[in-house]
């Protein structure tokens, strides 16, 4: 069928900020979709609130709106743009829910806008638990015994009938928010309550647990002519019971016979046809390991994280083709973009094994519950390919960047057998490594199967890896033994440990022996057809297919899995760098291991190597490609951390030299440099022991800011107010040593300022200066950033421009740099300089229309900023006010304290843009999911040091008609200031406590600054968690509260009696 001619313009809805359950995969899907629609000649209008995305680049769509994805704002855009149609199945759950809301509001009928692709009716049938079960019954397809419940009584009745364990799945939520498995009444109470709260329709599915079944997924596609295909099937190594986003997954399935494979394929296609899906769809199934019995778990009627994974695993671009199907094209008429000579109606054949391992944020959130269940907790994932299962799995392990290179735990040897058994029985983020340790201790695979229900096939493979360690150890530097090890995916680092030598020695020896990997193409067809896709993975085989071209090449290192502190912003910069390299006439080669991203779309670079970002794997590619050099400054800390070893291997680091990177990052050298340049910084020194830290702190005076050097996202950074806290920190949070020094700085309060700049060695371009709403001490990634600054003088701006220019030149920066300043008592201090791309690069690039990563890359390649057509100094101010508001995923991470501090906690960000700060903030908060209500009640509990300031805020809240509630001390402070306040009891008090207030939804805003609470038993922590659990905005910084207040003030009129004076 030819494409639709009756529609000309299409609105595409993006997925908004990165949160757990909805990450970079939708930037990948959305970008592909927009480009595909443009390619077909449609006018594409895009709305997405997330500025850190490629899809919100003005080149990707004809019109880009970075606005909140809410009914209010999307409706406004629809009225303005009058598109003919709407595409919502590529923006994750956010896009789908928005489409449903728009439809229900009647605006689509009013403006005669058609929904393309899968119809809403089908979406309802797939997502509404009741409708879905009815459909499955009609089709005769089994679903686990279950019931829809709307309240606790119904839940109890179901359990009486079915018995424990049961699974709770809230309807219409992301990544299973609020769901879980219940084994007893207590858990049932907790989980059902939270599930009902999170479901926008107050509906949960209670389901008989089929934990232990194999979990199998099929990624399917269908077009309007009813052609339906399977792009990829996947098998979760973790059996049913763990969210697929939190499961270790392999593709294709490994333990299914053809009969099982085809049985589940038939079911998947039957469902996609019954739902009349037009586009991509994900079907999750549970298969009894001991029979042909199966159940349908769920269906996602849209592209998803799994479809991004399937696209990268097979090469088959699902989102791109789904977009084209939405405008009427069919699978039988579209070409397979990978081969270019076969058709899209085709089921990819893999000739390699793919492994995916999730990346969890527990390294940052030590207090979080680490056990895994039906609610997703991972922020990102890595993928690896190999010609053996072992190779693919071990490559994925070392791609994680968690310090693990093997099936090994850091302190594994010291752990008790009981502990290991416990951690295998109860699935958690480190189960794979605990299994490795158990096998090493001789626990049989049958026993581990009993504990974990993981299929023996996989356990045997793990055991093979562990057993081979001994063989390796007994045969140091033996070619055949080493070859086998490499074919099993052993890292040089692991081999070196077993051989009692250094990693570099193993690499050298292998190179001498010619024991190097070759690169195989990912071509969708297992080599059956000729293909020219420049998409490769490494393996220890005979024939190399990645042929070096005559063109000079530049390698860009990507940023690996998405984690807190290193998000999609770095992929954004990586992609722009790749484009700039191509524009400059070089061959652009990218190495990355994150399947969710745009950078690992093979059509972005000239060559894509899907490989771990370790020195070994990167050097293999460099040895083969012999590039002009390697660009490390766009891949976040992942890439920067490799710079040192690369240079030691004689690789040219393009841009800022390693020495200068070190000058910016090494505290002592940085201090010396600042001294030389003549720029002030807060007093501070480097400590390599606890004793030294105590001495330094007493010299410069408390409070002090302490942190390890060389970290991203402020990991383990803290503000310490006295000596005993400092000692506690030094002994528990960090391991100070000469190799890992700890920085101790005077903590200055004041305005925090952030600047990004580009330097070509001589000229410095500063696209813009941003001011943080929250005072210094809150991590820049968690602060609301405002462009342009609102509270600083022209003189200070001049100082910032001058300092930035001098720092860039003085530190010999070539490329990007990011500087954090604090203005304390009118004076400007430098806090830190990051000689690399930063989180704010996409935000600032979009505001100023200065493509920062592009200019920086060209500067790195030798083209001056002037030659590129830009002037030096601070770029002219852009009209309007822009705010970047952080977005958190606390609802998904139980037991994590949400207090903002020096350690970063947000997972994503949104942008708000308008003519005034208040309007921009309103949009930013709305886009971040914080509902700003013009009336209601605010509940305050603040620490003594904040009371005075809180009085001012409370007064202003009263003035606009808000009710004030507060606990003891805070209430007293308000009363004595003459503010009407309702006192509520503290936790544990008699009568109505503040927890009741929060649980009953009686407060619309919670402001809580109760000390720093690292122990969960503390009240402040309870209050904050309770707010999160109940979906009430909880502000832990008075600055954020003030900002929100300003917004409300601007929305409302005063309620002031006569004679009081205005």
């Amino acid at each position: 069928m030819p494409k639709r001619q009756d529609i000309k313009s299409i609105l595409v809805i993006g997925s908004g900020p990165i949160v757990i359950g909805q990450a970079a995969e939708f930037d990948y899907a959305g970008t592909q979709a927009c480009l595909a629609l443009k390619e077909e000649g449609y006018r594409v209008i895009l709305i997405n609130s997330n500025p850190a995305t490629i899809m919100t680049d003005t080149e990707i769509a004809d019109k880009v709106y970075i606005e909140p994805i809410t009914l209010e704002f999307v409706s406004r855009i629809l009225r303005k743009e009058r598109p003919d149609a709407l595409l919502a199945t590529l923006g994750g759950q956010t896009g789908l829910n928005m489409a449903i809301e728009l439809d229900e509001s009647g605006i689509l009928d009013e403006l005669d806008i058609e929904i393309l692709g899968t119809k809403l009716e089908a979406i309802h049938k797939a997502e509404d638990r009741d409708l879905f079960r009815t459909l499955m019954n009609e089709l005769g397809e089994p679903v686990p015994e279950s019931d829809i419940i709307h309240n606790m009584e119904e839940a109890k009745r179901f359990v009486e009938r079915i018995g424990y364990p049961v699974i709770v799945r809230p309807a219409f939520t992301l990544g299973g928010t609020g769901g879980g498995i219940c084994h007893n009444d207590e858990q049932l109470h907790e989980i059902v309550a939270s599930g009902l709260k999170y479901s926008p329709v107050t509906q949960c599915l209670l389901e008989k647990s089929i934990a232990g079944f194999k979990e199998i997924e099929y990624e399917v596609m269908r077009d309007a002519e009813d052609t339906a295909i399977v792009v990829c099937n996947m098998e979760n190594i973790d059996p049913v019971g763990i969210h697929t986003g939190d499961s270790i997954v392999v593709a294709p399935s490994q333990t299914l016979s053809d009969r099982e494979y085809q049985m589940l394929r038939n079911v998947s296609l039957k469902i996609i046809r019954a739902l009349k899906i037009e586009g991509g769809c994900n079907v999750q199934l549970a298969l009894d390991p001991y029979s042909f019995d199966y159940y349908i778990i769920e269906v996602n009627p849209r592209v998803s994280r799994s479809s991004a994974l399937a696209s990268k695993a097979t090469g088959y671009p699902i989102a791109k083709l789904a977009a084209k199907i939405a405008v009427g094209l069919t699978l039988g008429e579209m070409m397979n973009p990978v081969t270019g000579r076969t058709y899209a109606a085709f089921e990819p054949a893999l000739d390699y094994v793919v492994s995916k391992i999730p990346r969890w944020p527990f390294d940052k959130f030590e207090a979080a519950k680490r056990n895994l269940g039906t609610q997703m907790k991972a922020t990102g994932e890595v993928m690896a390919m190999g010609r053996t299962f072992e190779e693919s799995m071990l490559k994925a392990v070392r791609s994680l960047e968690t310090g693990q290179f093997h099936l090994e735990l850091k302190n594994g040897k010291d752990m008790s057998d009981e502990w290991i058994e416990k951690r295998i029985r109860k699935a958690g983020d480190e189960r794979l490594f605990f299994i490795g340790e158990a096998l090493r201790r001789g626990v049989t695979i049958e026993t581990i199967h009993d504990w974990s229900q993981i299929d023996l096939f996989f356990l045997e493979k793990f055991d093979k890896i562990v057993r081979y360690e001994e063989i390796l150890q007994q045969n140091p530097f033996d070619y055949e033994t080493a070859k086998k090890a490499k074919r099993m995916g052993f890292a040089d680092r692991t081999i070196a440990k077993l051989w009692d030598t250094e990693e570099a020695k193993v690499y050298e020896w292998r190179k001498e022996q010619g024991l190097m990997p070759v690169y195989k193409m990912v071509d969708t067809c297992a080599a059956e057809f000729e293909s020219e896709t420049p998409y490769f993975y490494g393996s220890y085989e005979d024939e190399n297919e990645s042929i070096r071209t005559d063109k000079e090449s530049v390698i860009v290192l990507g940023s690996g899995p998405i984690r807190i502190g290193q998000g999609v912003e770095f992929d954004y910069a990586t992609v722009h760098s790749v484009w700039a390299i191509k524009e400059a006439g070089y061959e652009a080669i990218i190495i990355n291991n994150n399947p969710e991203t745009v950078s690992t779309d093979f059509s972005i670079s000239d060559k894509l190597y899907f490989e771990p970002l370790t020195i070994e794997d990167v050097m293999h590619i460099i040895d083969l490609e012999q590039p002009k050099g390697v660009v490390v400054q766009f891949g976040g800390q992942t890439a920067i951390n490799l710079a040192d070893k690369l240079e030691k291997n004689g690789v040219k680091i393009l841009g800022t030299t390693l020495e200068d990177i070190d000058r910016a990052e090494n505290r002592n050298k940085f201090e010396a440099a600042l001294h030389e340049i003549g720029i002030p910084q807060p007093l501070g020194k480097t400590a390599v022991s606890t004793e030294e830290a105590v001495v330094i702190a007493s010299d410069i005076g408390y409070p002090v800011l302490v942190r390890p050097s060389y970290v991203l996202g402020g990991r383990a950074m803290e503000i310490v107010y006295n000596e005993s806290d400092l000692i506690h920190y030094m002994e528990h949070a960090v391991e100070a040593s000469p190799e890992h020094p700890v920085l101790v700085d005077r903590y200055l309060t004041g305005e925090e300022i952030e600047v990004d700049a580009i330097c070509d060695g001589e000229n410095v371009l500063i696209p813009g200066i941003m001011e943080h709403i929250e005072r210094a001490g809150v991590h820049s990634g968690d602060s609301i950033a405002v462009y342009p600054p609102q509270n600083i003088s022209q003189q200070q701006i001049d100082t910032l421009t001058d300092y930035t220019t001098r720092l860039a030149k003085g530190l010999n920066i070539v490329g990007l740099l990011n500087i954090q300043y604090v203005i304390s008592k009118g004076e400007v201090f430098v806090i830190e300089v990051n000689p690399r791309s930063s989180r704010t690069v996409p935000f600032l690039s979009k505001i100023t229309s200065i493509p920062m990563a592009n200019i920086a890359t060209k500067a790195i390649l030798g083209q001056s900023i002037i030659d590129q057509g830009y002037t030096t100094g601070l770029a002219p101010l852009k009209k309007g006010v822009y705010v970047k508001v952080p977005v958190f995923s606390f609802a998904k991470l139980r037991r994590v304290d949400i207090t903002l501090g020096p350690e970063m906690k947000s997972t994503g960000e949104v942008m708000g843009k308008d003519v005034t700060l208040e309007k921009a903030l309103y949009k930013g908060l709305a886009a971040a999911g914080m509902e700003v209500k013009d009336h209601g009640t605010v509940l305050l509990t603040v620490s003594d040091k904040d009371k005075e300031e809180a009085v001012g805020l409370a007064k202003r809240f009263r003035d606009i008609g808000y009710q004030i509630m507060a606990t003891g001390g805070t209430a007293q402070a308000f009363e004595s200031a003459g503010i009407a306040v309702a006192e509520v009891g503290k936790i544990g008090a008699e009568g109505r406590t503040l927890l009741d207030v929060i649980q009953n939804g009686d407060a619309q805003i919670v402001i809580n600054t109760l000390t720093k609470g690292k122990q969960p038993e503390r009240d402040g922590f309870r209050i904050r968690r309770e707010s999160v659990e109940n979906g009430v905005p909880c502000l832990t910084s008075l600055d954020t509260a003030e900002a929100m207040l300003r917004v409300i003030e601007s929305m409302t009129f005063q309620a002031e009696e006569m004679g009081a004076g205005v």
């Binding site: 016979s257 494979y261 109606a345 054949a349 000739d351 094994v353 010609r387 299962f389 080599a527 024939e543």
Partner: protein
């Protein structure tokens, strides 16, 4: 133990022996199915061939007692990247290697099968030898011998049954001519309650019609259709006398019987992911395929055949129907085993055809 795969173009792959210890000779082809090795190795159409599996891990779910497509596998050898020594599946009764050992089929593991596949893609299917386990051959001598040796031409006679046997049912009577039949075909007919009589490939038309069939099913089978002209003759005699449904080799024999020609494909279609367009509906099915020869559509002119299906990717013929008689055939495998079951409805179509024919006869 070491084992070599030696190709007639002089390429040598060194790997590990598994399965039988013996050497073997055959045409080296590749199959891209990611599951279904048990069905593939027991498919008689692979008679005389050494099959390379492109998916690197084979034998993962072992061998079970249900999924055989013949009792005695006719394949000459299996080439894999890795043969699982620890299969895991509730139906598994032995490992892939154990089965091959029992059936006297050699296997080679540990070689770069993607390299081999690319070689076959570029040069076409190629003659090769799997050496005996542990043997140190004189490569030049082997290669010379390889070049001199011709592939067999009597595969159909090798794999077809020697005597007819019934597979009773209470429905339509179907005579199934076994040119190297996969059990899947019989299973599909039995599933539809057909009263099936399986007959040897060299059964005469007269004998077949003497069974009083409602329809005749032409099975799949190995090799070049030109090698069995007598079979073509029989199909020609049956045409018009009884409804016919043919699969794979059966399709090619039918085409030849109706005056069309067949030719050898460079490296064939072998796998479970081949898209085929049904020209009557425009719809696309993903099919299971295993054929080295194809019907030449250019030679259809002047025949009473019409094209019903074509391969989406290379445009070769995948299905034919007779314009005057109730007879249709497909190049691919609607019985799947292994592979997708999208075209399973073709068996229903055959039943409908037999029903319609009976009605016509009743009314006549």
């Amino acid at each position: 133990m070491k084992r070599y795969l030696i190709l007639e173009d002089g390429t040598v792959f060194a790997g590990e022996a598994f399965g039988a210890q013996t050497a073997s000779f055959g045409e080296v082809v590749f199959n891209t199915s990611m599951t279904g090795y048990q069905e593939i190795l027991s498919d008689p159409s692979y008679c005389g061939q050494i099959v390379t599996m492109t998916y690197p891990l084979q034998g993962n779910y072992g061998i079970n007692s249900d999924d055989f497509e013949s009792i005695e596998p006719a394949v000459k050898g299996i080439v894999v990247r890795e043969a699982a020594d620890f299969p895991s599946n509730f139906r598994s009764t032995m490992s892939l290697s154990e089965l091959l050992e029992k059936k006297g089929i050699p296997g080679i593991a540990g070689i770069d099968t993607r390299k081999l596949t690319r070689l076959i893609r570029v040069n076409g299917s190629i003659k090769g030898i799997l050496t005996a386990a542990g043997e140190d051959p004189d490569f030049e001598q082997v290669i010379e011998k390889l070049q001199e040796t011709d592939l067999p031409t009597d595969q159909v006679a090798q794999v077809s049954i020697k005597r007819p046997y019934p597979s009773p049912g209470r429905g339509k009577r179907v005579v199934l001519i076994d040119y190297g039949m996969k059990h899947g075909i019989l299973r599909e007919l039995n599933k539809r309650k057909c009263d099936v009589i399986v007959v040897p490939h060299n059964t005469s038309a007269q004998e077949i019609l003497a069974w009083g069939p409602d329809g005749v099913m032409l099975s799949n089978g190995p090799g070049d259709p030109k090698n069995v002209p007598e079979c073509v003759g029989v199909v020609g005699e049956l045409l018009g006398a009884v409804p016919i449904f043919g699969i794979c080799l059966g399709h090619q024999l039918f085409a030849r019987a109706c005056g069309a020609e067949t030719f050898k494909l460079k490296f064939g279609h072998r796998g479970g992911n081949h898209p085929v367009r049904d020209l009557s509906t425009g719809k696309i099915e993903i099919t299971s395929q295993n054929h080295g020869y194809a019907v030449d559509e250019e030679t259809l002119q002047g025949t009473r055949l019409k094209v019903t299906h074509t391969a989406l990717n290379d445009g070769t013929n995948e299905g034919l129907a007779h314009l005057d008689y109730p007879a249709f055939t497909v190049q691919y495998h609607p019985e799947s085993s292994p592979g997708p079951e999208d075209s399973n409805y073709l068996f229903d179509r055959f039943l409908e055809m037999m029903n319609a024919q009976r009605k016509e006869q009743q009314h006549a």
